[in-house]
């Protein structure tokens, strides 16, 4: 954690493209820029744009640039800031950064702009964390979660929670002042009811983490089954459309999306599909061993069975699928009957999980499969009106808060002295406050912001 007195600079855009943006923030942002820019940013109004040339310390022109001027209190960081929009040549960007550093700037550390925004009160800690999540978001719901959090929905709920607890703690503490008189300002029954409500709410937030985490990081899906059941064809069916859409948009590269699909705004990560593509579909045993690792990593397992095969083979897959169902009650196991485009001997399939008929070849049933995948995550829930925890640090804080509040609740039941109860409540408030950064320390901040990219 370095001094906030420094004026910092960094490239905020990725290498490549047509335009590069260099951010400068801090007390000297204008005066340093003005040593090299052909106009005086220090004399300009906030939120104005200025075209001119940027020269190096020897007076040689580096580039023709456009500069955005933002005054103290009106910028992202809350500090005097300029953003330099230059041609996206590595050489030019390096020269501008070098010149700024020669002029007195320091290269920013990862997340330092956002950390300053936090330290200057432009956002709380959970909002700052949401900025990083927003940049990383790759699906509609991940984006929605991050956006809600960045815009302060979660923060305001936590604030309300804290206010309830403050009220609660004050009442108990007030009693302590009048301890000798043995009054009870806070009706113990009422208190326990109120605590129960808060506990319920926190419990719900904790429970939402599974969903939040799945939405944020994508839901791992394994496609398994004997050779020649059409795994690779199914994979292509699932990916096919998605790819075409993605490559429509300029600038997106296939590399960054791995093998993943978006269904209903949720990202499903297809595990180890390289293996599916590569495997020569050799006729060998059912491959339970080979699939084991994939299944363990997955939340959802698609077990493919080829309905055109002989009964013995089909029964073997069925036995295997039932075994998975038993062994992994936490996972969703889908039995996918493939190759149903050709007439087949319809057998009574005895399976407790979801059973679907598809033809990976013709695409029949794929939409239904996608629908089931989508529903298996969101169910009937709508994300719009809910607070969902997607950050492991927040989860930990909430679990600690819950523990303290549970202790307080138990304490009331056992008729324990008010000062102990108040202490537990204060501790819960501490943990909740750590989420929004009302309580923070350098280590915590360093840890959080070091995960950001540079330039943010």
């Amino acid at each position: 954690m370095k001094l906030q007195e420094d004026t910092i600079c960094a490239l905020a855009t990725a290498p490549g493209g047509a335009i590069g943006v260099i951010r400068v923030s801090g007390k000297e942002a204008f005066s340093i820029t003005d040593r090299f820019f052909s106009k005086k940013t220090i004399e300009q109004e906030s939120h104005t744009l200025h075209f001119g040339v940027f020269k190096d310390s020897e007076g040689k022109i580096i580039d023709e640039i456009l500069i955005s001027v933002m005054h103290e209190g009106k910028s992202y960081t809350g500090e005097a800031s300029v953003e330099i929009s230059c041609h996206a040549s590595n050489y030019i960007q390096q020269q501008i950064l070098r010149t700024l550093v020669l002029g007195g700037c320091r290269l920013a550390e990862a997340g330092e702009f956002t950390m300053r925004a936090f330290l200057n009160g432009k956002m709380d800690l959970s909002q700052a964390e949401a900025v990083a999540d927003l940049i990383a978001s790759e699906s509609q719901h991940a984006h929605q979660l991050a956006l809600n959090q960045m815009r302060g929905h979660f923060s305001s709920e936590l604030k309300e929670l804290r206010e309830q607890l403050i009220h609660f703690a004050s009442m108990v503490e007030l009693e302590l002042d009048f301890a000798e008189e043995d009054v009870e300002f806070a009706d113990r029954g009422e208190l326990r009811k109120l605590l129960g409500k808060v506990l319920d709410y926190i419990h719900k937030l904790i429970q939402s983490f599974e969903l939040g985490n799945a939405i944020k990081h994508g839901i791992p899906v394994a496609i398994v089954g004997p050779p020649n059941t059409g795994k690779s064809t199914l994979l292509n069916q699932l990916l096919g459309e998605e790819r075409a859409i993605v490559s429509d948009i300029a600038g997106t590269t296939r590399d960054t999306i791995e093998e993943s699909i978006n269904i209903d705004g949720i990202r499903f990560r297809l595990i180890d599909t390289a293996g599916i593509r590569e495997e020569a579909e050799a006729i060998e045993s059912i491959g339970i061993e080979r699939s084991k690792q994939k299944i363990e990593q997955a939340k959802i397992v698609l077990v493919l069975v080829d309905v055109q095969q002989n009964e013995e083979n089909i029964l073997e897959v069925m036995r295997w699928a039932r075994q998975l169902l038993e062994q992994f009650p936490q996972k969703k196991i889908f039995l996918i009957q493939n190759k149903t485009d050709v007439p087949f001997d319809q057998r009574a399939i005895d399976f407790q999980g979801i059973t679907l008929h598809i033809s990976a070849k013709t695409g029949a049933g794929i939409e239904e499969l996608k629908q089931h995948l989508g529903e298996s995550v969101l169910g009937e829930q709508s994300l719009e009106d809910r607070s969902i925890v997607s950050n492991a640090r927040h989860l930990e804080a909430l679990e600690k808060a819950k523990e303290s509040l549970q202790r307080a609740s138990d304490g009331i039941e056992q008729g324990i002295s008010g000062d102990f109860i108040a202490m537990d409540i204060r501790q819960a408030m501490y943990h909740i406050g750590s989420i929004t950064g009302d309580i923070s320390n350098e280590d915590l901040l360093g840890n959080i912001f070091s995960k950001f990219c540079i330039g943010k």
Copy 2:
């Protein structure tokens, strides 16, 4: 080539990073943006910045963004333009682009923003081409060439050239009007002298292409020599420092710089150094065959000889180096005597090219080698005050112009009729005009701008 009436949009930054910039340009830039933005850009002054939320067509918030407003005549393209600065999430960028397209924008083609700038008279064609060169520039001199060209140095010289030719042609054409009176307004001796001057100048420009091209694309260098002469150590010595500097700057990735070094602001591309790294330095024959391809691609060949080896080996390398010198008179062959840090039997080395003593291990002599590399390209010349052609299209046009002018000059000598001379001069003017785009057509423009990146 699509209609200029369309309002176009594109992502102007590379995927990744903290900030993404989406450009919108055209008649409807403000009205389309305003359907989705929380403020009215149409009511704002030019060169102002506005913070707000950008919503999709269903009214759902996509992101909190900063919008730059630039009025017609005051933007890069010369059209009404906005630049949307958003969080650099692929999802957000895609959603914003989709929303703009739903609102009536068209996704821009490669180079379309710059093409509009050209069509709207904001820059001429050679300046537009320089924009792409500027973005691609990776060394000081490549940057300098592109910047000079973008800022119009080359254009103004060509303009002057054309004016001289116009004057020239008018004089000859004037004579034609008075043909029956058999007057000579233009003294033929004066004319030929003037033409000779113009031809000289064009010839110099044509000759500058070799240097310009080398500066723009980097100079290919091959490191060759028998196994165990220290090729890999020399490579590391040459690259070492450079890398450290590059990785100092945030956002630059090793991948994009290949194996190249900057010396005196010139990029030297080290050919097939992967081979050098990988080769297990097995003791085998001198490897002429293996190096042949590398040598053919190179402009400069560094032949390494290990002075610690026995006389026979050294003589073999010398024979080989001399053979290269004869076979490739166009290339610069450096004989690099390595391992001179340990005392060695100083032999009279009979070599007509540049001979240097180094120790790749200790780094001795490396600076001198770099100095020789730098000088071998620039010589005594300074780039500052010269026009250097670095574009193959310009070279071709200049060669055609030279041809026409040479014909005119020969024609005068042979006493050919004025109308033929005037025609040749007009043709030369046509070719020179094609460089700056005074003369252009759709095919030419399509060809030039399709080489740009999207968003520029």
